[in-house]
């Protein structure tokens, strides 16, 4: 299938692969910046989650130090499912997914393209939530270590989330199913990210944070590899 004569000429296979990924990302970002449906919903939703936590947890000065990382990650996890669902649902509803699959590119390029645009949406939401949280609760969240943890955690979350949302949109229950499928398997990410973020926020030593960082990196690598290997099976007709 890969040996079509037309594809023999032109740029190297890897360059074509990268171009295919870039095309999928570009399509998603362009569509989103015209409609702004996904980002606005995710943003408003995450602000509401923070508001609810404020009343549910009595975020006073003493407690705040211990729960900030937990509140942040719960917010990201919930807002993330919203984005993942929506991003795959638009592909499925308007038959775009079939169009993408018909394109003469490697299926893995479609996966990485979707994953990168999902990651971009999640990072944008996080980039808005962090300053808002910092201002509302008077904690400085802009520490390099914390930002790195957020990036690592989001990568793992999106790697699994993109794979599972591709499956869940093809089932009868659709949106309801994604969090049920996703949360039990991203628990390692949430544990490690909450612990590492808490470590940076409480100025703990590197020897206490490092095991969690290693866990995050290992999870990211393992699940990106798995998703890359099995994505073919979840889009096959």
């Amino acid at each position: 299938m890969d040996d079509l004569p037309i594809e023999k000429s032109g740029p190297s296979p890897f360059a074509r692969f990268l171009r295919a990924i870039a095309a999928v990302v570009w399509k998603d970002l362009a569509a989103e910046f015209r409609s702004r449906e996904l980002l606005s919903a995710m943003l408003v939703f995450s602000l509401l989650v923070i508001l609810i936590f404020n009343f549910a947890l009595e975020l006073n000065v003493k407690e705040r130090r211990d729960v900030t990382s937990g509140v942040l990650w719960a917010t990201f996890a919930f807002a993330g499912t919203l984005g993942l669902n929506r991003s795959m649902a638009v592909e499925k509803d308007r038959g775009c997914l079939d169009g993408l699959l018909l394109a003469p590119v490697d299926r893995a390029a479609i996966y990485f393209g979707k994953a990168l645009s999902n990651l971009a949406f999640m990072l944008i939401v996080e980039a808005v939530v962090l300053p808002v949280y910092s201002v509302l609760y008077n904690v400085n969240l802009f520490r390099p270590g914390l930002l790195m943890v957020i990036l690592l955690g989001s990568v793992g979350y999106i790697a699994v989330g993109t794979l599972l949302s591709t499956m869940s949109v093809q089932t009868r229950t659709r949106e309801i199913l994604l969090p049920i499928l996703l949360f039990p398997v991203v628990i390692p990410i949430l544990i490690a990210a909450v612990k590492a973020s808490g470590g940076y926020l409480n100025n703990l030593g590197m020897e206490e944070i490092l095991p969690w960082l290693n866990l995050l990196i290992a999870y990211d690598v393992i699940f990106t590899a798995i998703a890359f290997m099995v994505f073919d099976y979840v889009v096959e007709e």
Binding site: T171, R172, T173, I180, I187, P188, I226, Y233
Partner: protein, 232 residues
């Protein structure tokens, strides 16, 4: 296909006998534990059930990978059978463990690595069954199921390690014991007999249940095919 194989019938009877013998050994033959008393007798079936849960978990993972490689629906049937058995036996292990933990740890539940991992495995398998329920096409159902078992099979050990970085109070009766564990004890020779017999009996029961469930899966597949024929 329709008549139950004789070997399976024999295995059914053998499982029932072994279960009865294991019950006798655990409840009557094994000596009373000095500190914890009668509630310690839960231990024999608790560990054996957790062991079956683990076996089912491994079998499901292997069957999932085998399905993805071969695309043969027979592996899908094995996978569902293993998942269902694992789901039930982890549940039994959790319930028995809670009965033991109430007097010994003074709580029904604690967020210990083993307990939490068992609970998360249960949630993953419930999600798995919900996922399958939402898909009609048998091949797609099998593919999605296999992918999800694979993701689960990789994430559960990572979850275990992650929670293990916290401290644990779960006793390790076989092998090394951590200093913080509460409710541990040393097994006497009679206890070991009851314990290893329970493990053996439950392993046979696992094989019996798995075989029966796979047979049921094949029968269900046949019914579906005949229904389709009638409709055409």
């Amino acid at each position: 296909m329709n008549a139950k194989p004789r070997a399976l019938l024999i295995l059914d009877v053998l499982s029932a006998l072994l279960l009865a013998a294991a019950t006798y050994l655990a409840l009557i033959y094994a000596p009373l534990e000095a500190v914890m008393g009668a509630v310690q007798r839960v231990f024999y079936f608790h560990v054996a059930s957790a062991w079956i849960g683990m076996l089912g978990f491994l079998a499901a993972g292997v069957a999932g990978i085998a399905y993805l490689r071969t695309q043969n629906l027979r592996w899908d049937i094995v996978e569902v059978a293993a998942v269902e058995i694992s789901l039930v036996f982890f549940f039994i292990a959790i319930v028995l463990g809670s009965i033991w933990a109430r007097p010994v740890w003074n709580t029904w539940w604690t967020w210990d690595p083993r307990l939490t991992t068992a609970a998360i495995t249960e949630l993953i398998y419930i999600a798995y069954l919900m996922l399958r329920q939402g898909i009609e096409d048998p091949n797609r159902r099998a593919r999605f199921g296999a992918v999800y078992t694979l993701v689960g099979a990789v994430s559960v050990p990572i979850t275990f390690m992650a929670i293990r970085l916290f401290r644990t109070i779960h006793p390790v009766v076989i092998g090394s014991q951590s200093a913080e564990a509460q409710g541990g004890f040393n097994m006497t020779a009679d206890m070991k007999v009851a314990f290893f017999f329970a493990l053996f009996a439950f392993t046979v029961i696992f094989a019996d249940l798995l075989w029966n469930r796979i047979r049921l899966g094949h029968l269900a597949q046949e019914v579906e095919q005949r229904k389709l024929k009638v409709m055409q």
